[in-house]
Symmetry: C2
Subunit: 247 residues, 2 copies
């Protein structure tokens, strides 16, 4: 019988300085830093399961992770214990005991991402770390039309990184919307799951639509082609933030 | 006859990495970086006059500076020229030709500062660089009463750094207000001028009032005493942002 607790962490991080979420040899990653601190706190090797990877340079406001550990430390004190040792750009927002069967990745029913673009000539230095700066006007009506055509259940192979190993590339993009405030464009995407680079490839393609280099109405054919080479470039990581994991 | 142009720059910077505005030997400062780039661009030594110093670690959304230079470069292209070489945490927002008599410091008729405090238990890593994190409740009614007593024309010696050389320490604090959104407290101060550390010393004192360690009603006596030792501590630099210089 495993009498260890299953502990859920809710996390936020500014991804700028990190090689993404997942542990990689010789690289500074968010998972790596947290696992090391937890292992030290519990005096045993702790394995932390994230809801999924985030790319190098990508941010999170609501990453979720879980790990199993003995009831050695009061769970409600974990945020304080970890935050006092974490770098300032990673924060444990909350810690709680989860049901035994909870798994941050396998239990997830969906995710919400935000992608931010700034189209003004000069970007504020306070915004620069979390925006893709692209000082050009866009045909936002065309972008909105393309976004509506992406919503729904589709095979998203055309927006999936070449190297990705997923076999089933059908996902339901429940929400694909943009809001605008002045030169700030906020793309919000919610799906039951995302393929590798899917948000960044969708945004890269939408920006081509906004530039007039690709008709919005070509989206259905692009989806049907299931060919990554036909979609637009991968938009920069810094514009992307994982907002929330849905369970 | 001086046929050089008088050029005004509007600047924003995240102060975290800098030893403040003013050039200091052996330190990385915002003025130093800008002066070096301007001198390179104009192929002659350029002296940049700021509206005033900002402390190490303090930010600016609307710092103003001016310099004299020959009409060698098109002024409207200066933001692009400088921003392409500046670190991402310093931006030239605008450049324009100013009247011959304009001086960023001497012509200033006032300034507006923002000081931000976060009172929740865990601060978002996205907010941390520009907030003073102080996870305690405050008596905000008492703080508001103290702020009203600070508004107006007073000798602010009690809130002026010991070392400061200013002889006339009478200033008119036109606005001293706080707004609150959840755990975020925003103190906004506008005056015809500020003494060295004045905003940070006022906020440090207001936080003591909010803690219940100093009655709001003691402010008039504190002003009258003209003694820095009687006021509260200097609040941390990271919470402070120069919003605007008024001309």
């Amino acid at each position: 019988v495993d009498d260890r607790l299953n502990i859920r962490l809710d996390l936020a991080y500014v991804g700028t300085r990190y090689h993404g979420w997942q542990v990689q040899p010789g690289k500074v990653t968010v998972q790596g830093i947290l696992q090391d601190l937890l292992s030290e706190a519990y005096k045993q090797r702790i394995v932390l399961h994230g809801s999924g990877r985030t790319d190098a340079g990508t941010h999170a406001r609501g990453q979720v992770a879980n790990f199993h550990a003995p009831a050695r430390l009061p769970v409600e004190r974990l945020p304080l214990i970890l935050n006092s040792r974490l770098p300032e750009d990673i924060r444990v927002l909350a810690a709680r005991v989860a049901p035994a069967g909870f798994h941050a990745r396998k239990s997830a029913r969906g995710k919400i991402y935000l992608y931010r673009v700034y189209t003004g000539r000069v970007i504020s230095p306070f915004r620069a770390p979390v925006y893709h700066h692209r000082p050009r006007g866009l045909d936002l009506d065309a972008v909105a039309r393309a976004m509506r055509l992406l919503e729904g259940k589709h095979d998203f192979t055309s927006f999936c990184a070449h190297a990705a190993g997923e076999k089933n590339r059908v996902r339901t993009l429940r929400v694909c919307r943009m809001t605008r405030r002045g030169h700030q464009l906020h793309f919000r995407l919610e799906a039951d799951g995302f393929l590798h680079h899917m948000v960044r490839n969708i945004v890269g393609t939408l920006l081509e639509v906004g530039d007039g280099n690709r008709p919005a109405e070509s989206i259905p054919a692009l989806l049907a082609a299931r060919d990554r080479r036909l979609a637009g470039p991968t938009a920069p990581a810094r514009g992307l933030t994982l907002l929330r994991v849905l369970y």
